[in-house]
Subunit: 329 residues, 2 copies
């Protein structure tokens, strides 16, 4: 059975995983939905209560029933590179492609519904709390007075985007920033603002979860670093990421989070304080892992390849699996 | 506990439901997310493992924990009517509002994830098949030769959009149209095309499902009507909708569909053939019902009001309910 990878053409992270799939002799089809209806074609027939479907990429045909897993890495918008692109064609092509894939029973990394849901920062914070992960005191508000009250209770704050836009996604990339003392919160009324107690951190933790497998890395805070730069993604640092042990209770909480979020992949960011507590900052369901693997030598790409190579969910349960996210162990 | 209705300002369909909620003394808050951050404000605090949140609309404050249900009727894009609207503000406001609502444990009509999923026509067709609903032979393809082969097997075809755009959603509204004999399918290569065996219908069926309640209506096909007009939504007709009995096996299949789709509301369209078989055409998770209620006198609005007034899911299960759609019976 075949692994389907949906991603853009130049994606070295996907390349890292494909190497392992090839080595294991697992058939792979990889394309960018943007190439519908150019080099990518599809067909599905619903007759006599049954479904038969095919995808074709660069002349290679694969049966939809023969898919064991779908990795939604960094796909372009459907039909974006068509001869005559349009919003209508993108909508039709997206619904056709993902609509058919959703009906196959393949396992997903990650299912599109789980991916959309997982982006909601307020939902992330609540799920982290319920999963037993320590969450720094956080306020999301459009009430200036609520912001002022919060700043009185927690004088050392950072502000960050509600929507979790990432540095890789310009122009919406906004670094997490410290809030100066005596800040004027009047403008909070014009847009939801996320304020969070700043964790005085001694290390950043990046925890990569693939199914049940958890790999953590830590980067010690540079003692001579600028205390106003709190966002590790923007900080220049000579300190490398090093493998880190995961406290068992935290690993349990992470697995609970993933199960409830129906994610088979998640990149968690934590801030470690001077007591050694890992404070949950966010879980990015499409977070990069290449830089961690390069620094630490942890086999993340191989672990993803192994997950993608696993057996598809049993067909009798596939109706449920179709729409309720991963059946990742 | 309060019912939250998210919809645009002028929505007579929502008005019909609000009348019943008011009569039953059920508190209602209704606003359009487009009015964030003008007349609508929000605030949520995550402290010590707990969450406390509020919404305010036109000066009225409601606790997020006090919501029993959320009806996503026809909401505008978040913050679309803000003083200085932008894609960034819409994204931040949407994530803040829906991210908090997703964490409340309220029951949804319909949950946003279920709503997105339910729009996929290919997925609808597969789920209808698996639920035991008769589905006319259908092909979705970008292969001209597949279209030609299909047309040979099923000479009497209609073509319709894959993405299920509706007449209410210009400019993407495309009526279902008969395919002339000898049609040239070469252009199928440029965009996914949905071809379906035409059902020679003696009536259109509109089945409205609200939780476990099912109300069906039929409109007899006008014997003198133009046989080339197959889309009842575009046909002018003097024939009214009449209440219709639902065959028990079909009702079971509809309930299976809704349960698997995690929908608490669905408007099903069927075509009834000369044998009395109801052929599944589509299920619109946000389909209008006012015109059916006006013609048939069926208490659809009251049934929706009753569903919205039901108790919220038990808190211990709310984590699951948060993200896995309705817990509608």
């Amino acid at each position: 059975m075949t692994v389907l990878i949906l991603t853009c053409e130049e994606d070295v992270t996907a390349d890292m995983v494909v190497v392992h799939l090839n080595a294991a002799g697992v058939p792979v089809v990889r394309f960018d939905p943007a190439d519908l209806t150019g080099t990518v074609a599809l067909s599905g027939e619903y007759v006599h209560g049954a479904f038969r479907g095919h995808l074709s990429s660069a002349g290679r045909l694969v049966s939809l029933e023969g898919l064991r897993s779908v990795w939604v890495r960094r796909p372009g918008a459907a039909a974006a590179r068509a001869a005559e692109p349009s919003a209508w064609l993108t909508e039709e092509s997206s619904q056709a492609l993902y609509g058919m894939l959703r009906g196959t029973g393949a396992r997903w990394m990650n299912h599109p519904d789980a991916a959309v849901r997982a982006r909601h920062k307020p939902w992330q914070l609540r799920l982290a709390q319920l999963s037993g992960l320590p969450v720094p005191a956080t306020l999301i508000t459009t009430f200036p007075q609520a912001a002022r009250d919060f700043a009185e209770r927690y004088p050392d704050l950072v502000v960050k985007p509600v929507s979790g836009a990432h540095p890789q996604d310009p122009p919406r990339a906004v670094p997490t920033t410290r809030v100066p003392h005596g800040a004027d919160f009047a403008a909070v009324a014009y847009g939801p603002t996320l304020l969070q107690r700043r964790v005085a951190k001694r290390a950043d933790i990046r925890l990569t979860a693939v199914g049940d497998r958890i790999l953590a890395a830590r980067k010690d805070t540079d003692p001579g670093g600028d205390p106003d730069v709190v966002d590790v993604r923007y900080a220049s640092s000579a300190t490398p990421w090093r493998p880190a042990d995961v406290p068992p209770r935290l690993a349990d909480a992470v697995r609970t989070y993933l199960r409830e979020a129906e994610l088979s992949y998640g990149a968690f960011d934590f801030a470690e304080d001077s007591d050694g507590t890992w404070w949950f900052l966010e879980c990015n369901q499409s977070g990069q892992f290449g830089f961690v693997e390069v620094d630490t030598g942890q086999p993340i790409a191989r672990t993803i390849a192994e997950w993608l190579s696993g057996p598809p969910p049993a067909r009798p349960g596939s109706r449920r699996a179709d729409h309720c996210g991963s059946t990742a162990s």
